[in-house]
């Protein structure tokens, strides 16, 4: 008999306004199960401001503070400071933001919050573009991807640099815990969120969140695409704690093509481009493994 390890409680109500197949919404559902009721979410402008529903309704069963685009780190610091002065110590403060609101416009206040040693968990749901405004390139858009601001066109020029290495930047900045998670591996995801809750200080979760309209995938394929991202080594699952990196699953066994060719945003890739991406992924994966062995 297999044991069902995903908590049964639901903190995301039915009737939210996420797109069908939205990876970020499924991610939130899992994260909230791991976080529980003593959680306060703060969230900037992003898809999430819409997904949670329209006033006077709200889809979450925990308190949520909405705020401007670039201040997730700062609002988290403010909430934590107020909780501390009020003597409340059993609440998890969660900053919940998209990749643009994190790695681009919100990087300053996130870096500030890490510097301030704010005790909070920052979850970046990474759909690899500015989706709320209709698919524009962000610092987390991958190499050669199509977006509306890297449209290819006559010049056939797409995103010309790989994803910003946000986790490395934040480790250098001083987070106490970091982890990558995926909706395709919910048990790993829940275990990491639960663990991070018990660690004091600034913590960062990088979650790959497939987006059917932005990635041009069928709404039924989000989880499959997420799984392929890990199986191809494009989005490896790992953990960082106290200077130690650990690979959570060493399951890279598929060519990147299997992941990329499922998505309309990569349909234009030539065999040279595929070769280049494969080479980069292989190198990065080996470097990550070496780092894990060294520190482990």
């Amino acid at each position: 008999m297999s044991k069902f390890t995903i908590p049964k409680e639901e903190y995301l109500s039915k009737g939210h306004s996420g797109c069908a197949g939205c990876g970020a919404t499924l991610l939130a559902r899992f994260c909230l199960k791991a976080l529980g009721p003593k959680t306060i979410i703060n969230s900037p402008a992003c898809c999430w401001s819409v997904v949670q529903g329209v006033w006077p309704r709200a889809a979450l069963k925990v308190p949520v503070v909405d705020h401007a685009f670039e201040c997730t780190g700062a609002v988290s610091s403010g909430i934590r400071a107020a909780l501390e002065i009020k003597g409340i110590d059993d609440v998890t403060v969660v900053g919940w933001a998209g990749d643009g609101g994190t790695a681009d416009i919100g990087l300053q206040s996130l870096s500030g919050a890490i510097d301030r040693r704010t005790d909070f968990l920052y979850i970046m749901y990474d759909n690899e573009a500015y989706m709320n405004t209709g698919v524009q390139t962000s610092g987390c858009t991958p190499l050669y991807a199509w977006t509306n601001t890297d449209p290819g066109g006559k010049k056939r020029e797409w995103r010309n640099i790989g994803k910003k290495r946000i986790m490395d930047m934040l480790i250098a900045n001083g987070i106490v815990y970091g982890a990558t998670v995926s909706i395709a591996y919910p048990e790993d995801l829940i275990a990491k969120i639960k663990k991070s809750r018990c660690i004091k200080g600034p913590k960062f979760i990088h979650a790959l969140s497939p987006c059917p309209p932005g990635w041009k995938i069928p709404t039924s394929k989000s989880v499959e695409v997420a799984r392929l991202a890990t199986q191809t080594g494009i989005f490896p699952l790992y953990e960082y704690e106290n200077g130690v990196m650990t690979l959570s699953k060493d399951i890279k066994n598929k060519p990147v093509e299997e992941y990329l060719m499922l998505q309309g945003r990569f349909r234009h890739l030539t065999s040279e481009m595929l070769f280049e991406i494969q080479k980069k992924v292989d190198e990065e994966y080996e470097a990550l493994k070496a780092r894990c062995q060294r520190s482990g």
Partner: protein, 395 residues
């Protein structure tokens, strides 16, 4: 207790007396010594507060919005470029109805780089939904902060407030300040306990997405709150004078306006200089007075109309300039008094920009100009720049 102190120390002491719980601030001249003083007070346990070392003014305001949602009394201070950087979050604080109090040590905006006072930073934020109280001296820099919390946190108001203190002229100049006892302040200003704050037993979303079918109602509520704030200021001001013996029961302070033939409306520290000039004019038998506008937002229409019942020649001194037009306060005063337009003359003066000294002689000239205007058949709609080097002052 009476002590000698700068405006910035007075502001920090006021925040302490108000029992602020969360402070977030970022350095900028001439504000910096307020945040340093508060950091020192927190470090020495003189106040039980959290000091958040933010990495920008934008984050200072964002952090305080978060803290205020949790029910904490909050304070910050800034100037000039810092205030401009906060712009987006100023709207957010007002829309979210967080009664944050902030001292703005007014300073010119660059370029040209200039660290000295004018009100262009403050006037640039007049439409963000904040109340704006101007200080004439260091005593007011302290008193108006206490009053600001009282009005801002009123359940029918719940709006953030800027207390404006002129850079260097007040911020770095020593004056005698009467510091009220902590127990008296506690009695005047009970702890912050807002109806809207995060409650884990009743989870809600704050700052939600609202469609066109309701957004106007949210805005209308902000409008109502501003309107109510006028009465609330007067009430709190009366309570303040009872408690501390200094009168703030009106939004506009009239100085020698009885029987005046011309009155000059003014904000901030230059009001003190204008008062001295009015005294001198009166000594010479010239009937002039000063109307110091303490509260610019909400705009004191009613008090202005009352003032204008008795004076038909009004000057307005703006320490700021609205590009392409003139002084903001001038245009609003003219607008407010439009219904009395028939024989009313309102003239604007712009001066004191970027810390340019505004002297008693300048104000005497302004008063003479107003008296001449009163006697002339001329209508007034021009704006004069006062104190320019090239002699282009019009007299």
């Amino acid at each position: 207790m009476i002590d000698l102190m700068t405006g910035n120390v007075a502001a920090a002491k006021a925040a302490m007396l108000a029992g602020v719980e969360v402070v977030a601030a970022y350095p900028i001249t001439p504000q910096t010594s307020i945040s340093e003083k508060l950091a020192e007070m927190v470090a020495n346990d003189e106040i039980k507060a959290k000091y958040i070392k933010v990495e920008s003014e934008h984050s200072a305001m964002a952090a305080l919005i978060g803290a205020s949602y949790m029910g904490a009394r909050t304070f910050t201070a800034t100037s000039s470029q810092g205030l401009a950087l906060m712009h987006e979050m100023l709207f957010w604080a007002a829309g979210a109805r967080r009664p944050i109090v902030m001292t703005v040590v007014s300073r010119s905006l660059g370029p040209p780089w200039n660290i000295w006072t004018d009100h262009m930073d403050v006037i640039g934020e007049r439409d963000t939904g904040w109340m704006q109280f101007f200080c004439e001296n260091n005593q007011e820099a302290l008193d108006l902060i206490l009053l600001a919390y009282k009005v801002a946190e009123d359940k029918e108001v719940m709006l953030p407030t800027m207390v404006i203190e002129d850079g260097f002229i007040l911020s770095h100049t020593f004056e005698k300040v009467d510091i009220p006892a902590k127990e008296e302040v506690d009695f005047f200003l009970p702890p912050f306990n807002p109806d809207v704050k995060v409650n884990f037993r009743k989870p809600r979303r704050y700052g939600s997405l609202v469609m066109p079918d309701w957004t106007m109602e949210f805005r209308y509520n902000n409008y109502l709150a501003m309107e109510k704030a006028k009465k609330k200021f007067a009430e709190a001001g009366s309570a303040f004078s009872k408690a501390f013996g200094r009168d703030y029961s009106s939004l506009i302070e009239s100085y020698r306006c009885e029987g005046a033939e011309a009155v000059l409306i003014i904000t901030g520290s230059a009001a003190g200089t204008a008062k001295v000039a009015a005294d001198r004019m009166r000594e010479r038998g010239k009937k002039v007075g000063v109307a110091k506008m303490r509260v610019f937002r909400p705009f004191p229409n009613e008090e202005l109309l009352k003032l204008a019942e008795n004076v038909r020649t009004i000057g307005v001194f703006d320490r700021s300039y609205t590009f392409g037009y003139g002084g903001a306060i001038y245009s609003e005063v003219r607008n407010a008094l439009f219904s009395l337009a028939a024989d009313l003359k309102v003239k604007g003066y712009i001066g004191g920009l970027g810390g340019r000294d505004v002297t008693e002689t300048d104000f005497e000239k302004i008063f003479d100009d107003l008296l001449t205007l009163r006697r002339s058949g001329l209508a007034s709609n021009q704006v004069d720049w006062v104190g320019l080097k090239d002699g282009s002052m019009r007299w």
